[in-house]
Symmetry: C2
Subunit: 342 residues, 2 copies
């Protein structure tokens, strides 16, 4: 695995009989260097195949131009678009991304945080694992004033910035929509309310019921992991309920789609017997029949926003802790799976 020798600024300096200081300056386009000298240096550097050594530079500069990203899983359309948004902004600003997946495990998240810390990322973007219960593993960043932004999945705190949608309101809107469509017995399928997103969606759901004088029933909450399998299991429970529910609000699209498929298999009509609303606006919502009513969740924008904000912190143009929560707009997208009127 031997590599051919790297060209350094010393090689260039030698060949040109000038000092490394001048070469270093020329390479950074320092205006203090004589134009002709600069041109000579740049030309020779090109010709010799010089590339700057990031480590030497980082060692001096104490920065890495790297942003760390910790996400639960890279397996949803939503997360892909978030990453795409982050990548887009970060690359344009000359930052690299280091991405790790916590696989929804608190332990792996702690390990990831450590990796990021040791790699001295300049800043960190995090969407929390499902069962993360405290943020102690991020204290090290806050101690060193390394900016950290949570997106989508967060946790109560008052030290970092969050980029979110208003999950409470989105869930409220979704539930109200079902009620307006005539639903009176609405089941909510969600994940165990440890994470903000599920807590807030649940509270929005409850609020909508309460505002419409519908009594909240605990047995109308079905908790699972929001997978396709969870959807099937939930439907099994639902069809055994009496009286039969007439609406389902599911906290993500994949599970909602699975519910629709299972309901149909069970001989129920969607939306006539049971209306369904999902969450995320995954492309699959336009494939399932009937098409799924859902909440449009701006993943790409969320990624861009989180990255932009982080980089603003890094550039010092925005002081740390100046922003606490950035809310992105989301909206209900009504499709056939919930339309029982007009």
């Amino acid at each position: 695995m031997e590599k051919t020798k790297e060209i350094t600024i010393y090689d260039i300096a030698d060949r040109l009989n000038i000092s490394v200081a001048t070469v270093s300056r020329a390479l950074k386009d320092d205006p203090v260097v004589n134009k002709k000298t600069k041109k000579k240096i740049l030309d020779l550097a090109e010709k010799m195949g010089y590339r700057s050594n990031h480590f030497a530079r980082n060692l001096r500069n104490q920065r890495t131009d790297t942003i760390g990203v910790i996400i639960p899983r890279l397996n949803s359309y939503f997360m892909s678009t978030v990453i795409a948004g982050i990548e887009n902004v970060a690359n344009a600003e000359g930052y690299n991304l280091i991405i790790t997946q916590s696989s929804e495990s608190f332990e792996k998240e702690v390990a990831s945080a450590k990796t990021m810390f040791n790699n001295r990322v300049d800043g960190l973007l995090v969407s929390l694992a499902y069962d993360t219960e405290n943020l102690d593993h991020f204290e090290q960043f806050s101690k060193k004033n390394i900016p950290l932004i949570f997106f989508d999945r967060t946790e109560d705190h008052n030290r970092f910035t969050d980029v979110l949608i208003d999950n409470h309101k989105a869930a409220y809107d979704a539930t109200c929509h079902l009620i307006e469509q005539g639903c009176k017995r609405i089941v909510h399928i969600t994940a165990s309310p440890k994470r903000n997103v599920y807590i807030d969606r649940l509270s929005g759901y409850k609020q909508a019921l309460s505002d419409h004088k519908i009594r909240f029933r605990n047995d109308h909450i079905i908790v699972g992991n929001l997978s396709a399998e969870a959807g099937e299991e939930a439907v099994e429970k639902i069809i055994r309920m009496s009286p039969l529910p007439d609406g389902i609000f599911v906290a993500n699209d994949n599970c909602a789609v699975s519910c629709i498929i299972s309901l149909k298999k069970a001989g129920l009509r969607v939306p006539e017997d049971i209306a369904v609303v999902g969450f995320n606006n995954d492309p699959v919502s336009k494939v399932v029949e009937p098409n799924l009513t859902t909440i449009n969740y701006p993943g790409y924008e969320m990624g861009e926003m989180a990255a932009r904000n982080l980089i603003n912190h890094l550039n010092g143009s925005v002081p740390l802790h100046s922003t606490n929560t950035i809310l992105l707009r989301s909206e209900l997208v009504v499709r056939a799976s919930s339309l029982r009127k007009g």
Copy 2:
């Protein structure tokens, strides 16, 4: 953005009145260090919040423990699973990932390659952009003996390793299946055959026709970008063909699903009037009605395989250029969209 001072091995050495060399050794768990000394060092390091400086280390070691990944886009289920596979192996082996998207643009891919080069990745995993026409931008890696592996999307060459499925055979199987189901006029929807995957799928399609004595017709090839929109446009063309085709083999699932939806809108029955087969086994293939027959494409395994292979090269346990092509198994998954018999 001031950071609190970092602890270095010098600080530890000072406090313990020993040399930095010993500290350095202890930190790497060098067996040559006295056990008691080692324990003292490790304890103090922990207590002082020491973290090793990767740059200083890299500067010395000339390696980064970083693997670069260049992909066209992070927006498909397939690509997400590939990345998950790569990430899994890389993390387990102590490597970090730097990921960039070429956004299907040759220019961005060249820029990405340069970024990777300047970041001195130890190795590189690449899936080529759609319109990449030459591999000149990867020559720099090969010159420096930096191992480079292409996965999925590749290009003729004889210098790097490829990790692939047998696209020709998969397409052959898919087409034969349609023929066995009684299809005689099979349209193939694909992307412009610049990339191996599309070239090979086309050739598999042709071979299947020829083996069944069906004449190849140029107007049965519809070229687009395999998006959902491309699917709609393709169907518009198809329904104007006379005689009407009775089978469609689409080079990816998203587009195939869009075709099914459009065909149904046009009043055609799938599979009775037109049978459809896709490619990738994206989860959406089990949502569309009828469920989509497709090729199961092992993305996660492909990612793992590519990463594992690269790391073997890096560890020197496998000499560079020792393997040229790794073929992964793929298979036809028959579902309702193509079943016209039995």
